[in-house]
Amino acid sequence: MFWKNQKEDERLDPLGREITRRAAMNDEEIEAISSNIGYAAIHARIQARQNEPTVNEWMTTLMIARQAIPAMALVALIAAGWMWLASSGAAVGGSIDDALTGAAGAGIERVRAGGTCAISASDECAISTEDVLATLVKESGK
């Protein structure tokens, strides 16, 4: 297969080169075209370009920025949607079981108020289930 393709390429490439060369015009034709081009047309082109109002650089920047507006708006929309989904998901997804077992707040535990601990992730400041039960029993005993 490879050899067949290579052989075919070897046959097509010289023809391809010949085609590219043959597409050229001859000197007489080029001279005829060239002699038709007058300087007046070029001069007119130059004059027209010189008379074009120069666009302010700020305007150019604004024009470029304007092209970016749809992309930026799309990014902002996606970000807003994502944030809304995340916040509503947290509100709906948090179950009573999670609240009781503390699964939803894994890693962050409440700590004794008034002590040296504030919000902390360390074990020594955390309230254990036994502490909670003891407090409840104490409260109901009163």
Partner: protein
């Protein structure tokens, strides 16, 4: 033929380079007559370069006008360039203008594939199958057919093949003229050859 054209271009550059610098300096100072003289000296050479990429005379005229208009406004850049003659610099402007125009016109090609006649299809088929036909003048491909086949290629492919095979420019020179890397030119050339093979194999 391509070699002859290329040699002619080199000879042209050598003959017109002498005296260009004075004219360019005068044109940079706003001397319109000097720029007109520059145009007269380089008109034929730029038309020759442009004719490699376009077939219609009106198109060639339009692109040549554009090349000189661009050159007029970019004359200041020329003085900053080191080691190249004005003729070489102007050729670079012409090649880049042709490239821009080809890319702009990629959706409205000058020729249509449907215009390849039945006779031409048969001729190509015979030519492609006959391995000894390459040297015979009787089986030479006409310019019209060659143009139609090249028109089937993407503008980028046609452009790179014209520079490589038509103008016989070395890869390094093409890279310099277009401000591309050598490897980019090689990759583009490879892609263009594959595309041309694909066009030709349709006639097998």
């Amino acid at each position: 033929m391509g070699e002859a054209v290329n040699k002619l271009c080199v000879a042209d550059i050598a003959s017109v380079s002498a005296g260009d610098e004075e004219l360019v300096q005068a044109a940079q100072k706003g001397d319109d007559a000097a720029f007109e003289m520059i145009f007269e000296r380089h008109r034929l050479r730029i038309a020759r370069i442009t004719s490699r990429f376009f077939n219609r005379p009106e198109k060639i005229e339009e692109v040549v006008q554009e090349v000189f208009a661009k050159a007029y406004f970019a004359l200041g850049d020329y003085s900053r360039e080191r080691g190249s003659s004005f003729a070489a610099w102007l050729s670079k402007v012409a090649i880049n203008s042709c490239y821009d125009e080809l890319r702009r016109a990629r959706r409205r090609p000058e020729n249509n594939f449907s215009s390849v006649t039945q006779d031409e299809t048969l001729f190509l088929n015979t030519r492609l199958r006959d391995e000894n036909a390459a040297d015979a003048e009787a089986t030479a491909i006409s310019r019209d057919l060659a143009s139609k086949l090249l028109a089937r290629l993407d503008a980028d492919d046609r452009f790179i093949l014209t520079l490589l095979d038509g103008e016989e420019m070395p890869v390094a020179e093409i890279a310099r003229a277009l401000g591309w890397g050598v490897s980019r030119v090689k990759v583009r050339a490879h892609r263009a050859r594959v595309a041309l093979r694909r066009v030709l194999s349709e006639f097998l």
